[in-house]
Amino acid sequence: MTGLVLLLAGAALAQECDPPPEALGDLNAVISTIYDETSGVAEYCPEDLGRPLDMADADSRAAQLSADDRAAAAAMLVDAIGELGGEHTQATANAAGLIDALLGAAQADGDDLTALIDALLAIADGVEDPLLERQIAINLWRRGVDDPRVAALLEKFLPSEPDYDSIFADGRTDVSVMLRTGSDGFAYSDFEDAFARPGATLEKLDEDTHWRVTYQVAPDDPTLPTITYTIDIIKEGYSDKDTFVDMDNDDVQVTMFGDHSQLGTSLDRALGVAPDAADSTDFFWNDACKSKVFQSRLSQAYPQAHFVFTKDSEYFRDMPVSFERGLVALANRYDYDQMSRLVAAGSAWQSKNYVFPNDPQKLVFQDQDGDGIADAEDRIYDVAAAVENQGELASKAVHIANTYVGYSKAFVSHTARNDHDPEDWYRPDGLFDGEPGGPATHIETRTDAFGETKHFVAVNDELLEVDQTQRTALITADVATHWSGVIGWSERTTEIGAFLAGAAVYDVWGGRGWDSYVEQTMPGWELDHWDTAKFLDDHDFVTDEGIRKVMDHQKAQQE
């Protein structure tokens, strides 16, 4: 190829299509020229500028261009979108996505990346929509680009340290901490020991509901001031809604939460009335068991906030110790790597349980544009999805399925790789155009953004129309079925195990659609979900014994 030529650009490909809006004329010309110069599976029309780019197709086309053409294309794309406003965000996102594809091809060929990185940074610098800026930044992270300008951009989305200018604003040394927990967290977490050991004082303002700790931390670094924390430990019930009220409260600098996750629903009420504080950079330590299940919603509600969350259980033992160490880390102005090291030092078992805001692993659990694809894998910003936010319902359900399989001994104990994170094998992979009553998921195994083999779960878009319990139960059953295949269960055991896995979701949440769930997973089963729960263990988990009991039950019915 001798170079991209913009003569009569787009005419050949666009002749069957409606003409683009005038504002998109230049962009249409550039993209249609690129597509005209390359072959791929997607036919291009200007109206495609209003839909998310097919990135696999873009990758294929980018690989066909020469290094010079890729650089020229990127420059032309930047020029073409230079004057576009917020009404054409998807078109701008597509241009950025195309440059990401060009960058990937250039990397693969070992070309100089400067022009392409410059182009992406120029777009990021000019966009109005923070989600598009974030998308460009995350795409650059995925490429592993070593460039100080990229590092500076990523600092906004993968911050290396807490917002100390906010926490210690104007030289503040008296810091207010709000720690909310439930009745079990209050009863079984040993806050008294955790804070008494380093010399804090604890006052029980109310024996059963409200304790106050005064904790003075003299930083190890003698150049830093002593910090005095006032920590209010509040017992909340499930009906309480105050978990996030301090996100827009300047009088509280640090917030912590630790309680049961209830398969990702224990914060629903609080999220429903959470204050609008999209710019909040608050430090929020979410120490519920497997609190990753909240992360997609929390990061949407507070995209700039600094959430620390767990991948696995915290057993109540970790929570107070981790909180105390987190406060020491803050007083010492640690960055997140250092905070992570202190929290993990000499711990009983959970050395890698916490995900800090600088950890790209958090992107596995976030779905900022709500298209159902984990941000770690999502290369294109879907503007319409971000408005509807339906896909997040699916991605949340996949993470809950992950969590459930990871909890259940029947699945864990038969797992060849029986490590601490058996549930993190499944990744949200968007929605597919399915039929009502059709397969709940399509599961595909491939390498993830971190180079690990994972199972990617695309969800039938018809499931967005059903009750949350039914949707999550069906996805959980599918994930359990797939996992049973991985660990080599028989067909019969797989069917029962998967059915029980979804039934457990009903037992935890209640909800509608049980009959439909049964019809799709265990036709002929006649018990309601409360009776079915008797085949789960005390904590709603699938066990070998439970599966055997179902077999016995069915055998008895047949006789």
Binding site: D184, A187, D220, P222, S347, W349, H420, D538
Partner: protein
């Protein structure tokens, strides 16, 4: 005493001469922390030592030629593995002792709380993975399994 001697040997006037006042103060603070790590309860040793290591790393970021910090950092790094193991074992032991007390009370009272029992069983399962040959963990697991949930 031995530790104090080591610290004195580690930090000579020539080393300190290459350190600015802030670095010198930080090295002194890190040295104190290392002493504290030795004196601390086993469960706290690793965390205290980690604070010293982080402080020394930050010192070296600002003043990479501060030899006292370099030498003390090497000393602290050398202690890391042993103290990590000591603290981790102590933390596991604390979980085990607390779990044993809880199980004993529940066995005696004939009453268990479902959520607390769930948390306890998870704890013990995790502990069993880490200490598969510890007969006390195995025994406690068996006893916890035998506990029924009382509504």
């Amino acid at each position: 005493m031995l530790l104090l001697s080591l610290t004195l040997i580690l930090s000579t006037p020539a080393d300190s001469a290459r350190c600015g006042p802030d670095a010198s103060a930080r090295v002194d603070a890190a040295s104190d922390l290392i002493d504290q790590a030795f004196d601390a309860d086993p469960i706290d040793k690793a965390a205290v030592l980690e604070r010293a290591r982080i402080l020394l790393e930050r010192t070296l970021e600002d003043e990479p030629d501060c030899r006292a910090a370099v030498k003390l950092k090497a000393h602290a790094d050398g202690l890391h593995q042993d103290m990590e193991a000591l603290s981790s074992a102590a933390a596991q032991e604390a979980v085990l002792v607390r779990a044993a007390d809880t199980v004993t009370v529940w066995e005696s009272d004939g009453v268990t709380d479902p959520d607390a029992l769930q948390a306890l069983r998870f704890q013990l399962a995790a502990l069993h993975q880490l200490r598969p040959d510890d007969a006390r963990v195995t025994d406690l697991n068996d006893r916890a399994r035998a506990l029924g949930v009382t509504p």
